[in-house]
Amino acid sequence: MHFLGLPFAELVTIFAIAGGAVTALYVLKLRRRPITVPFSKLWARILKDKEATSLFSRLKRIFSLLLQLAMLALLVLALGDPRAAIEIVKGRNLVVLVDTSASMQARDGGPAGKKPRIDEARESLRKIVRGLGASDHMLIASMDAVVTPLTPMTGDTSRLEQALDELRPVDARADFPRALRYAVDTLRGVKRAEIVVLSDGVLGEAKDGLGAIYSNACDEENAPKPAGKFTCVGDARLSFVPVGSGKRNVAITQYSVRRYPLDRSRYEVMIEVQNLGDKDEDIELRLLGDGVLVDLTKLHLKAGEKLPRFYPNLGGASQKLEARINIAPLSPSDPPIYDDLPADDRAYAVLPERRRTKVLAVTDANTYLEAALLLDEYLDVTTMTPDEWRAHGELGKSDVAIYDGVTPPLKPGLPALYLDPKDGGPIKVGPAIKEPGFDTLDRKHPLLRWTAFDNIGITTANKLVPAEGDKIVGASNDGPLLVAGSRAGTKFVALSFDVRQSDLPLRIAWPVFLMNTINWFVEEDADYLSSFKTGEVWHVPVPLGVTSQAVLVDPEGAPHPVPVQEGRAVYLGERAGFYRIKAPPDVTTPSGATPSDVYFAANLVEPRESAIAPEPALAIADEAWMRDPARVAHCKLACASGVDPECMPKCAGHEAGQVKDSGAGVRDEKWMYLLALVAIATVVEWATYHRRITV
């Protein structure tokens, strides 16, 4: 017997003091009420009978005292929180990974089949918590795109049960390797460790950037043993609690929208739907532009069929585009039928903002430049000769300036493209270079998107001397030719040759380069046309003027402050829907205006999450087996069909066991029983006193 509460010596002291007080109070009985009677001899006759049993009476009184002392002893013992020594030695340490990925939203649980899987997981976990031993400790972590511990390693069941209410499934996939590695690291070196995974589906291979996580057979004490009947990962035993039963699901697995570059009033949509169930389904696919139905299509999908659809030349939406699918009802008047997982029945996209860009072109009759700018109808181009520009300056406010052959300083708030710059601009110009070419290109830079600058013939160019922080986008072996940078928050691009002295205007890259440059200046980046994917870190362009922090408003309308790095808000999103980024209240644009909000969308387009057919077992590959060529060859042959993505780990690995003592039980803490005994003894004492048995 061990005392986890007060030490034994203190318990003895408390009992001695309190016991003495109880005995003293017992001896000092309450003074009885004097009552005068006419003839006490009659009472004496009754009392004579009692005196005949005085020994028994004394014993009864002693019994009452003993009962009270026993109650005191039980209370004092309860203060000590006694535990059997064997319980302390055999306490388990569990890390429970609860799958909170999108598939856990599937409503296929419960008798009516409408209970979310996460509730089923909660109930299973609640049973495990209530079946914990006296010395067991547990940590609960949610497993989705990130691993979030919801409790410390604790034996406090109330704290653990409280954490169950914090489990919320998100619209993202589960990062099982990361969660498993977290659990393995947490339990490294811990005795009687156990990892419990509560999940519904295919978790994928346990392999991340640090390498694969392997399992091994182990014995009762988690020691590696080839013929052991348990499965261990690291120092911990692995257990699996399967969740879910249904598999009827049709999902949107791809969704992409973009405006036509030269006709921004129209757009095209690419969507892919997949039937992940085992029965054919008739579905209705709706496209909604700004909440208004744009298109309705009925599709027939065979079991497992993947169907891409392309909707060109659509119009009618200015910003938000949403796709919805549902099972087609038997009658058009019937309400829509939804499959088991509604989370993947919707997809969202935001069209880039259609706004006209005012361009000031200072050029001396550069036809190639003027013609290229005419291609985009959303550009308001003002063309001035250098002499007019020197005489009158800018006429009105412009968003972008293109200086061809003139090199004025960079004006704050007016990003500029310098063609054939000279000294006096934002970048120094070095010596001339004869017949250079683009030998190195930063092909991922937005300026070069959809362009080919290779093999451009250039008569002569000037070598650019970029300052610190400037980005060399293209360079010859003799020096930089295309540099992008910014000065005091205003962007500039410098192309170090006269395009008329090259064959660039004759190439398609020329107008594309111009539009890329203008888009880069005004932050019209085609990257975010396609929605972001949940469960990944997003880098979202922020409103003009925002530099360090922005406010992100999620689909539920809740604001979140997000950091801004390199002009982009960084955020790990796990909810599908329309988002909005707004500038903090005290931020204005360089021109002093209030920045416009930026909208974007996020989608769960993850076929692995949409495949909601529950996996009855969790298998982790064995390292030794995976290094055995014969076994690997055999398994590859066995898994050649490729139907089961878990086939390989099952073939060359170990399946997780069942959770031990997962049945509903009561924690074996003695102090609760001691208090119950005190309560019973109190009732007995009360009853015997009032029945005058012990008085």
Partner: protein, 322 residues
């Protein structure tokens, strides 16, 4: 205007305190008159003014024979019997004499005990037993005086506390009232000692009516036997208060005897009260059996019954005046 009316006007009762006025008030006295009249009508023939004793004497009613002893008066020899049986027998006649009635009122503290007042709960009770004892004694005295008997009233505790000298004649009832009014309860009960003193003080034998609750720690038998052994005709008028049988007690208490001061700690429970009621009943039964065995007329005077009813019951039962 009757005697009682005169007593009412002349007697000191009208100027006494309320308690005394209540004891022998006009209503009480009217009932006494009624009782006296009713007793004469109902028990006519048996309830004459004279009372015959069993002692043979010079009366005119033949009572018995006995053997002749030398020295007897020859005039009382029954010659007819001698002629028929050859034995000398003397005729005995009942001697007519006025009877002495002693009303012995127990004035110990238990007679003044009122349970409802003592427990401090303030509920109305039956009042102390001495109050009823005094009324009974007064009624019996009045009837006795009405029958021209000699009536004496004695109050006792563990001794003879006070005594009213023998008197006769209905008009002397006010002396009885005065005496009874003056009786206060005090002291312990010892019937044996008190009645020993009583018989020593009263050589003339007669009817000794003992009005008491018989709460004698030494035993009620001894006191009654003192009367029996000294040739008195004891009549036990047992004053009983039902509250004594069912005391309103509960919990842990210390019982104090109102006379002896004996203390007993006891926890009163319902079961114990039931046991007490049985013991009390057994005590009453014990007294009744004793009196029956000893041929002592016994009458239980319940304080809850009006005194006039009680008196009529006494006469119906017989034994008081024969």
């Amino acid at each position: 205007m009757g005697l009682l009316d005169l007593f009412k006007k002349q007697g000191p009762s009208s100027i006494r305190g309320a308690a005394y006025d209540d004891l022998f008030d006009d209503e009480f006295q009217r009932k006494l008159d009624y009782l006296a009249i009713v007793s004469r009508k109902v028990f006519a023939g048996r309830m004459r003014a004279e009372r015959r004793t069993k002692r043979s004497g010079s009366g005119i009613e033949f009572a018995d024979h006995r053997d002749y002893n030398p020295g007897d008066d020859f005039r009382y020899l029954d010659w007819n019997v001698y002629q028929r049986f050859g034995r000398l027998l003397v005729r005995l006649y009942e001697q007519e004499e006025d009877v002495s009635i002693y009303l012995i009122v127990d004035a110990s503290r238990s007679m003044g005990f009122d349970f409802k007042q003592k427990d401090g709960r303030g509920r109305p009770g039956n009042g102390p037993k001495i109050r009823h004892a005094k009324r009974l004694a007064a009624a019996l005295a009045y009837i006795g005086l009405s029958n021209l008997d000699r009536v004496s009233v004695v109050s006792t505790t563990n001794r003879v506390a006070d005594r009213m000298p023998t008197t006769r004649g209905k008009q002397r009832i006010h002396r009885v009232f005065d005496f009874l009014r003056s009786v206060e309860t005090d002291g312990a009960t010892s019937l044996e000692d008190a009645l020993k003193q009583f018989v020593a003080q009263n050589k003339r034998r007669g009817l000794a009516v003992l009005v008491s609750d018989l709460y004698d720690p030494a035993g009620f038998e001894k006191g009654i036997n003192v009367l029996r052994y000294n040739k008195f005709e004891p009549f036990v008028m047992h004053v009983v208060d039902p509250d004594d049988a069912k005391p309103d007690l509960s919990g842990d208490v210390r019982l104090l005897d109102c006379e002896t001061g004996d203390e007993r700690e006891v926890t009163i429970t319902k079961a114990m009260l039931e046991r007490y009621a049985k013991v009390y009943e057994a005590y009453l039964k014990e007294i009744e059996v004793f009196c029956t065995l000893k041929q002592v007329p016994y009458f239980r005077a319940d304080v809850t019954i009006p005194f006039d009813d009680l008196i009529l019951r006494v006469f119906r039962r017989g034994g008081f005046l024969r």
